[in-house]
Symmetry: C2
Subunit: 334 residues, 2 copies
Amino acid sequence: MSGKPVTSVDVARKAGVSQSAVSRYFTPGASVSKKMAEKIRVAAEELGYRPNVLARAMITGRSRIIGLVVYYLENQFYPEAVEKLSIALQENGYHVLLFMASNTVGDVEPVVQSILDYRVDGIILVSASMSSTLADRCKAQNIPVMLFNRDQPSQDLRAVTSDNVEGGRMAAGMLLKGGPKRIAHLAGFEGSSTQQQREEGFVAALAEAGHQLHSRAVGNYHYADAADAARELFDVPEPPDALFTGDDHMALAALDVIRIELGLRVPEDVAVVGFDDIPQAAWPSFNLSTVRQRMNVMVSTVVDELIAAVEGEDRPERKLRIAPVPVYRGTTRD
Amino acid sequence: MSGKPVTSVDVARKAGVSQSAVSRYFTPGASVSKKMAEKIRVAAEELGYRPNVLARAMITGRSRIIGLVVYYLENQFYPEAVEKLSIALQENGYHVLLFMASNTVGDVEPVVQSILDYRVDGIILVSASMSSTLADRCKAQNIPVMLFNRDQPSQDLRAVTSDNVEGGRMAAGMLLKGGPKRIAHLAGFEGSSTQQQREEGFVAALAEAGHQLHSRAVGNYHYADAADAARELFDVPEPPDALFTGDDHMALAALDVIRIELGLRVPEDVAVVGFDDIPQAAWPSFNLSTVRQRMNVMVSTVVDELIAAVEGEDRPERKLRIAPVPVYRGTTRD
DNA sequence: GCCAATTTTGCATACGATTGCAGAATTGCG
DNA sequence: CGCAATTCTGCAATCGTATGCAAAATTGGC
C-alpha cells in the first residue's frame, strides 16, 4: 500500500542528480551525458518511474490526448472506425478519450464541452457534426477538429469522407446493370451530408439513364427503422425490383425483411446495393453487393491531417474525399 | 487566434475576487457567499471559463479518467460493452481512455504501462487478462483494476463475469431437449477462463444426461477461425446434429458454413446454441438460440464496483458472477 | 598545457488549479 | 448594541514536470 507514485524527484535523489536531469533524460531532444543517463536509467528502472503525462501536459500544453466522439456503436462501421483510429493514433503516441454522444446522453454540445475540459490536443467527430459556436470555441482554444465520414457546409471545418456523390452514382450503375424496372431508395438520416450526397449522386445517375425513383423511405441509419422502411417499400402491390440503401447496416435489415419476412428472392426479385462494406456484408448469409468506403485510407488520412494540425502545420486542403470502390457480390444481377 | 485558454486567474481578475474564490465556486463542497458566487458566475460565463481537469487532477490525485482495454471490436459483443461502459461512466462523471490491445499493437503490457502514465483512476480490462507483475504495479500505485467478462485465478483481481459454468449447463439443456445423437462443441480461445468454464458446465451437464462430446474444434473467438472449425466438424461422413459454440460471433460463422456452404438445415439437421446474445443473434437471418449474458447488469455492476474502489471503499466480494438467461429462438428443436 | 568554444548541469520559476490556515466579515442572541 | 460563534475570503504552499539561464565541466586546436 505504498500509495505514493514515484516522481522525478525520487529518481533524482536516488541517482544523485538534479530533478532537471531526470526530466531531460525523459525528453527526446534534450542533452544528457552518458554517465548521467546511465545513472538515471538504473535509478528509474529500480523505482519503476514513469513520467506523469498530466504534469507534462500542464507545462507543454500538449496532453497527447485526442477526443473521439461517436454516436453509437451498433452499426459495425463505427467499431471498425474506432478500432482503427485508435490504433493509428496509438502508433503516433496519442491516445483516445472516447465520448459517446448517443441519445441517452443527450446532445453533443455538453459532450464536446467536457472534452475541452481535458485539454485534448485535437478532436475527431465520427459521423457527428458540431454547432458553429462550439466550433468557434475550439478554434479559439486552438484545438483542431476533424470530421470523419460526415461533412458540414461550414467552409472552415476539416473533413475526411468518401466521395459520396460518386458513390451514389456507383450504386446506380451497379443496379442498372440488372435492367431494373422499379428502383427504390432506403434513406439514412436526412439531416446528414452523407445521405444527401449519396442520394444526389444516385438520383442523378438514374436520370442520366432515363430512370427515376419509384419509391423512397427513411431508415435513419437504424436497424429497426430500416426494417420498417423496408416493409413500407415492399409490402405493397407493386414492390420495387431494385433497392439502394444509405448504408450496409440498413441493407442487412432490408434483406432480412425482403427474404425472410416477405419471401422474395434476392437478386432475382429484388437487387440490393448497400454502402460502406462492413465486415458482415461479406458474410455468406448476406453476401451483399455494396459501395466500399476505403476505411484504411480514410483513417490514415484523418490521423495524418489531425496530427499535422496539432503540430501547428496549416495545410490548405480542408475537404478530403476518398474515392469509393464498387464491390459486386450476390445481391445484384448482371 | 487568441490561443491562450482562460484560467481561473483571468476570471478572478475580471470578477474582482481572489483566485481561490473562483476555485471554490467550481468545487462542489466549498463555501462561497451568494454575492461572490454571482460575480464569479457572470465573469466565468463571459470569458467562457471552464476548470482545467488536468491541473485539478494534479492536486487532487484524481484524474476522473478510466482506462478501458479492449482486444478488438469485430465481435459485436465488445462494441456493445464499450458503448454501455462508456455511457455509464460518463453518467458518473468519469471518462474513458480507450486502449486497443489488438495483435497489431503487440502485447497488453506496454499498453497498460502507458495507461498508468495517464494516472487513470481505475482500469477495466474487457476480455483481457493481466500479468501478476503488472497487477502488482497497479496495486502499488493504488489503481483499482476490474476484469470484465474474463476471470483469472489470482484471488486478488476483481472480476465481473456471467456464471459461465451455469451458462454452459444451460446450453446443454437447450440442446438436449431436441434429443440429439451427436453433440459437438466449437470452442473459443482455450486460454480464456470463459471458454474453460462454459465448456466445463456444458460437458458436465451432458454427462449427467448420459451423453458425451462427439467432436470438438477450436475457433478462437474469431469469425474466420470459427468457419474453418465448423468445416472441420461438419464436412465429414457423420456430422454432429447439435452444436454449442463458445460465443454468438462464432455461431454466426458456423451457421454460414452449415447452411450456406454445406446446405444443411437448421435446426432439423443441426441445432445450434451460442453464447452472449449479441444484437445480430436476434436478426431474422440468424434467429439464433443462445445463452444471454445480461450486459446491462454486468455493466452497471462493474461500474459500480470500480467507482466504489476508486473512492476508497473496500468491498469484500471480488468475483461477481451474473446469472445468464436461456434464449430460445429458431436454431433449436424441442 | 592553455584558452576559447561547446556541452552539461543545477537553480529557480512556471503551468493552473486545490486547500490549510488565519484574519475579516457576517450572523445570532441576549 | 455588544460580543461570541460562525461563515467567507485571501495568502501561500503544493502537485510533478519542463525549461530559460548562468555556472560548471568538457572538448578541441595549437
